[in-house]
């Protein structure tokens, strides 16, 4: 089979699987969040928490609970890392330094999963499984809760209440993330991923050398790492490690898991606001951008521009033989555009222009299709802006799903859009200006600058992948990137929940002949254009200094 045909079949199989599953899953999620019944186990959890799952929360209460829960996550994770040598299953590893422990705690709680450590040589089994993997679940469930709160803001009228955070958190974890992860984890083991609690096993090879084989609860962590768009690998090599991702079929399963919830949530959105077509208009914009990225990177990697890649006869540096260029490109685009950040190949060694596409995928704000929950609320904020712009063109007060977008709503949307660009650009500028950027580079010239820009883009947008040549484990970068991750995650949530609160209070305005139809392909087009223009205007100068300069020189 020709590489082109295999590549086309691979993407087609993925799209077909997503098309098949998004409907039942999207409807299931809508039922989960709209339901009023509690299972016995859930009731037991609410009693332990001391919360009433049926009490409605206004947006400030919802936000306070989100922040309190995430703060508890940061503190517990910090403590686990700092005390791991005194806790069980330590594997003999020393505690992490304060700045690295802060960075990792911020990273996993904010659903970023940026890693300035190497898992196999730094983290105990307890820290990995009882700390990091737990945040893989709950940080994802937090993102979904906030998205659902925004959907309720559109769906409800004349109430300030956005639902109950505890109920959303627990249901998202127990009824959505856990069952899908468990099934996926078993499939991954069937393909060859490891799942044990063994110590390092030493074997003597045929040539008489000693090799240390590592163990761990890898498959269970791999499943939720991808499903929850987290991305923090059990091993430093992440999903390129054969124990995390053993063959071509496990690779497709992992890409499927990355995209599964982000591409299904628009269906949930459509169902909950009473028109699935509204959801399809949003998902079409997400899918269009994602698909353009896949085509661009696949073609670029197949053409392998760059002196070294040309000399080698192909872009195989930093890629595994069992995946090859096309499965690596598909994974790379899917992981950067879903805010996941797991990698099955190393992005630092992609061609300059491919790196630019991956960067741009993050810079648009992780919305195509974005992280679990965060992708949907990001795209809905962008839809609010698109409706507003279209409204300005025809000179009438914009409305979206029957809700008027007045000055308060637009201010909140604008604040949301400003947070991550401000963090990315000022973080990169600070790192470069103080010399901390240059000292962390592996590469030189424009590609070195791309490493720094990529790091701050990835952290602020809660992606977590890296141009991994970037030496992130310094006091400066651990702290600065940790702050970028926390602010990039929780400040936007403040604006989203405030927006949800103000939408929920409104009485819906009846649609009239002048209302912009937001369930038509025309609106999808406006939305995509809006995304491209906002991100393009913000980031073009910085892209020109890094990937574009490198790509045009090659």
């Amino acid at each position: 089979m020709s590489p082109t045909l295999a590549s086309v079949l691979q993407v087609s199989a993925l799209v077909a699987a997503l098309a098949l599953v998004h409907r039942p899953l999207g409807d299931h999620m809508a039922r989960v969040y709209a339901g009023t019944k509690h299972s016995r186990a859930e009731r037991w959890i609410y009693r332990a928490v001391g919360a009433d799952p049926d009490a409605g929360m206004r947006w400030p209460a919802y936000l306070r609970t989100v922040l309190a829960f995430s703060l508890a996550g940061v503190l517990l994770l910090y403590a686990l890392q700092r005390l791991q040598d005194r806790l069980p299953l330590s594997l003999g590893f020393a505690p992490l330094s304060p700045d690295q422990a802060f960075n990792t705690a911020a990273s996993f709680t904010s659903n970023t999963n940026w890693q300035s450590y190497a898992g196999e040589s730094a983290m105990s089994h307890l820290t990995q499984t009882g700390g990091l993997a737990v945040q893989n679940f709950v940080s994802a469930a937090v993102g979904m809760s906030v998205a659902v709160a925004l959907i309720r803001g559109f769906a409800r009228a004349r109430t300030g209440e956005l639902g109950n955070f505890w109920a959303d958190l627990v249901r998202g974890t127990v009824r959505i993330l856990l069952p899908v992860s468990a099934a996926a984890a078993v499939l991954l083991v069937a393909a060859g991923a490891v799942q044990n609690f063994s110590d390092v096993q030493s074997v003597t090879t045929v040539t008489g050398q000693t090799q240390h084989l590592t163990g761990g609860a890898v498959a269970s962590q791999e499943a939720i790492k991808d499903l929850g768009t987290n991305g923090g690998g059990f091993y430093n090599a992440n999903s390129s490690h054969p124990f995390e991702n053993p063959d071509g079929s496990s690779n497709l399963l992992e890409v499927f898991l990355l995209l599964l919830i982000p591409f299904s949530l628009p269906r949930t959105f459509g169902t909950m606001v009473g028109s699935v077509r509204q959801g399809y208009a949003v998902v079409a914009a997400m899918a269009g951008i994602w698909f353009a990225g896949v085509v661009a990177v696949t073609l670029l990697e197949a053409a392998h521009p760059g002196t070294a890649a040309q000399l080698a006869g192909g872009a195989m540096e930093g890629k595994e033989q069992r995946f090859g260029e096309s499965a690596s490109s598909l994974f790379a685009v899917s992981t950067t555009m879903t805010s996941t950040g797991s990698v099955n190949s190393f992005h630092d060694s992609f061609s300059g222009l491919s790196g630019g596409v991956l960067l741009f995928g993050m810079m648009i704000g992780e919305i195509a299709p974005g992280g679990v929950g965060s992708g949907l609320y990001g795209m809905l904020v962008m839809a609010v802006v698109a409706v507003f712009l279209a409204g300005l063109m025809v000179g009438r007060t914009p409305e979206y799903l029957g809700k008027r977008l007045g000055p308060r709503e637009m201010k909140l949307a604008a604040c949301y859009l400003l947070v991550t660009p401000a963090l990315v650009l000022s973080g990169t500028a600070l790192a470069m200006g103080t010399g901390n950027g240059e000292s962390a580079m592996t590469n030189t010239g424009p590609h070195g600058f791309s490493e720094v820009l990529y790091a701050y883009t990835s952290a602020s947008n809660n992606n977590g992948s890296a141009f991994a040549g970037f030496g992130a484990d310094t006091g400066f970068h651990n702290t600065a990137l940790g702050l970028c991750m926390l602010l990039g995650r929780f400040l936007p949530m403040v604006f989203v929940l405030a927006l949800a609160g103000s939408l929920a209070r409104q009485r819906p305005a009846p649609a009239s002949a002048g209302t912009l139809r937001t369930d038509k392909p025309l609106f999808t087009g406006v939305l995509v254009a809006c995304v491209a223009v906002v991100a393009g205007l913000t980031f073009f100068p910085s892209l020109a200094l890094g990937p574009l300069a490198e790509g045009l020189a090659a």
Binding site: A133, N136, H212, A312, E550
Partner: protein, 203 residues
């Protein structure tokens, strides 16, 4: 203590309790349940697909190994050689070179590796495939391309005193196509090939 401080304290304590309960569910019950199923249903795979040879474990099917002459970093001509690995296939340090596609160091490495591989196998430099001159992502890649296996046949046969056709047949037997016919890439598992080679009786 005023009311707002008390409310905050109560909220934080709820948050901590929620986190602990969910930690038990997702950090203890979930991984143990998956481990239980995995160990019962896929015992060998869950423990790293370890391969035994002459009654003892010699490595994992999924993890590449170094096939250098003992105590040196020179490749042993009697074995099929894997892709370059900057960590010499040590699973305790995984990850790639991180060098960009136009990086001058990488250009130099590719050029030198191509020369070495060509000389070692007695083939023209243009016959050396891309996976032979580039490092993998994990630095543990257990596979090489069929093309890289093929240019090694003559050298291995000569070093072992075997006929080329017998070694070529062995390589053919170990070529794996794409998974399910269209996923990933065609490949040869170096450890499995070399173990089969060591079992091959002399001419």
């Amino acid at each position: 203590m005023n009311t707002s401080a008390r409310t905050t304290a109560r909220l934080l304590s709820s948050a901590l309790r929620a986190l602990l309960v969910l930690s038990v569910v997702t950090g203890v019950v979930y991984p143990l349940a998956v481990t239980g199923i995995a160990q019962a249903a896929f015992h060998d795979k869950a423990n790293g697909s370890v391969i035994e040879h002459d009654g003892r474990a010699v490595g994992s099917k999924l993890i590449g190994q170094s096939w250098n002459l003992k105590g040196t970093d020179a490749p042993d001509p009697r074995w099929f050689q894997p892709r370059p690995s900057h960590s010499t296939y040590d699973p305790l340090t995984t990850g790639s070179s991180q060098l960009g596609a136009s990086d001058p160091t990488l250009v130099k490495t590719v050029r030198e590796t191509r020369k070495q591989v060509a000389a070692f196998n007695g083939v023209p430099p243009s016959a050396v495939p891309k996976d032979a001159v580039t490092g993998s992502a994990s630095a543990l890649d257990p596979h090489i391309s069929p093309a890289y296996a093929e240019i090694q046949i003559a050298r291995v046969a000569k070093a072992r005193g075997l006929t080329e056709s017998r070694v070529a047949d062995l390589v053919n037997d170990h070529e794996e196509g794409r998974d399910l016919g269209f996923l990933g890439n065609a490949r040869v598992n170096v450890l499995e090939l070399n173990l089969a080679l060591s079992r091959l009786p002399a001419n």
